[in-house]
């Protein structure tokens, strides 16, 4: 028996995905800059700076189609399950690994790290935002949460790829409705691994430095009074 509902849902998800990729490429001329690695089919965890809700779709759409199919974003369940439309986008289009940020929402035996590791063990690549939330400050990055270390520690063989998204906060600043069609570049750096015996804070610093190093110079300044030019 063919399940018509799930079939049509899958088709709708694929069409939505293509439409989204097209819009992202047309509006922002989004471009991938593979600085430290090649776009080849290898299991990876892309970790990126987070300034806007468009970050995840942007990384997702600059990936070549064959990599996109095996890459799943790790996203907040409370955000992505709020409305049926978001649930469709989160579950079916992006195939997100949904985790509950608030421990009270979790089922008794639910551990976000386990959920993520399961996805890794299934062979998927992941997109994560180690700052844990959107960066509204003037600093280039918020302090990383320990999640990225825990993942890297549990699966030390998987590449942790720093991924810098430039310009998105100008394309769609918080509170604006119309996105500006400026050029957005997603830069992928050289992969990192948690060294055996490396302390958590040392690794978090190293990962954050590797990510900021990919930013254009203006964004790297401590307090960018001048908006990135």
């Amino acid at each position: 028996m063919v399940d018509v509902t799930s079939l049509s849902r899958g088709l709708a998800a694929r069409i939505t995905g293509h439409a989204l990729t097209f819009v992202a490429r047309f509006i922002t001329a989004a471009r991938a800059d593979w600085k430290g690695i090649e776009p080849v089919a290898r299991q990876r965890i892309y970790y990126a700076n987070h300034v806007s809700n468009a970050d995840m779709p942007m990384i997702w759409s600059v990936l070549p189609a064959h990599l996109r199919r095996q890459t799943r974003p790790v996203a907040a369940a409370d955000y992505w399950l709020k409305t049926p439309l978001r649930a469709f986008a989160g579950r079916d289009v992006f195939r997100a690994v949904l985790i509950h940020r608030n421990p009270e929402d979790r089922a008794e035996d639910e551990d976000p790290l386990e959920t993520i590791l399961e996805a890794i063990d299934a062979g998927d690549s992941l997109i994560i935002f180690p700052e844990g939330g959107r960066n509204m400050s003037d600093a280039p990055l918020l302090p990383f949460k320990s999640g990225i270390y825990n993942i890297g520690h549990a699966r030390p063989d998987v590449d942790l790829v720093p991924t810098w998204i430039a310009n998105l906060n100008e394309i769609m600043p918080k509170g604006e409705i119309i996105p500006l069609p400026l050029i957005c570049t997603v830069t992928f750096g050289a992969p990192l691994h948690v060294a055996s015996g490396e302390a958590k804070d040392d690794f978090l610093d190293r990962a954050a430095d590797a990510l900021v190093a990919l930013a254009p110079e203006e964004a790297r300044a401590e307090a960018p009074q001048e908006a990135p030019q």
Partner: protein, 313 residues
């Protein structure tokens, strides 16, 4: 219409022959290079030639399809150019609405006025209305930080990428003594002399160039400019039959348009140097961005339009 179309096809055939020669030249250079050592100059050159093929084909189809399509083509070119320009301009969140207006209101309206042939409007719309309105919109949002630099950058972007470039399809509104449908050939003339001039300058500069004219900005040399100026003068005279001008008139117009475009190229090199970018974007393989490709046409078009208007009226 048939005669104009025939002329466009003839020119297209000529350009295609030239492109074939350029492609064969590149392939020959690639064959001659030892396979062990990659030759980046040859590879870059061939990527460029491939992009030219695309542009020549697109422009030829638009010219054959008629006025609406060529206007639409340049509207999209403006959009892409403005996007590249404003990506590197100073801006703050207070400018968001005025930048959105630039993209989604002033750009389409300017091309609408061009398509309608409303000359009193499209020659002042951006210099007057956008110039006055956009700073007001930014000022209403507060944030005086670097206000002049931000407003000036936005206005410059609109003037360069939209106003100036829209003067290419605006050539369609010229009063042509030889029949109104011949106006499309003025676009072909302008684009051909400017692009061929740049091509000659590039090759002559590489082969003979010694004296750099603006060493801190660009590798352009006095030798390249002189050879290209002579070349453009001759090409202009040879192409006089598609224009309403005499052979000498067409040669002078060609020289003037190419000269303006050449200096436009220098101005854009200065902007890029100021912003610390090498290429405006990577949208056209081997060429950088749309602005790299359009910078000379941007400076040539308004001048060519107004002098033609003065002469023809």
């Amino acid at each position: 219409m048939t005669e104009t179309r025939l002329d466009i096809l003839t020119l297209f055939a000529g350009v295609v022959l030239l492109m074939i020669a350029l492609t064969l030249f590149g392939e020959y250079m690639r064959q001659r290079a030892p396979t062990s050592a990659p030759r980046p100059v040859v590879e870059t050159y061939l990527t460029r030639v491939n992009s030219w093929w695309g542009m020549v084909t697109l422009l030829a189809f638009a010219a054959l399809a008629g006025q609406f399509w060529i206007t639409l083509l340049f509207a999209f070119a403006s959009f892409a150019a403005l996007r590249e320009f404003l990506t590197y301009a100073s801006k703050r969140q207070a400018d968001h609405l005025s930048l959105a207006l630039a993209f989604f209101a002033f750009l389409p309206l300017q091309y609408l006025f061009v398509a309608l042939g409303w000359i009193q409007m499209f020659t002042v719309f951006i210099p007057v209305y956008a110039f006055l309105l956009l700073p007001i919109v930014s000022a209403l949002r507060g944030d005086p930080d670097k206000f002049l630099a931000r407003v000036a950058g936005t206005q410059w972007g609109l003037m360069i990428c939209v106003f100036c470039l829209s003067h290419v399809p605006a050539l369609l509104t010229l009063p042509m003594p030889t029949g109104s449908d011949r106006a499309i050939l003025m676009i072909v003339f302008l684009v051909m002399v400017v692009q061929l001039g740049d091509l000659i300058e590039y090759f002559a500069g590489r082969q003979l160039g010694e004296h750099k004219l603006a060493p801190s900005l660009s590798p352009k040399t006095a030798e390249g400019v002189v050879v290209a100026a002579i070349g453009v003068f001759v090409i202009g005279a040879l192409l006089a039959w598609i224009t309403p001008f005499s052979a000498l008139g067409a040669a002078i117009m060609a020289l003037m348009a190419w000269g303006a475009g050449w200096m436009g190229n220098l101005v854009f090199a200065a902007i890029k140097r100021d912003r610390g970018v090498k290429d405006w974007s990577h949208l056209i393989p081997g060429q950088g961005g749309f602005l790299e490709q359009l910078d000379s046409v941007i400076f040539a078009a308004p001048l060519f339009f107004h002098v033609s208007l003065l002469v023809l009226e």
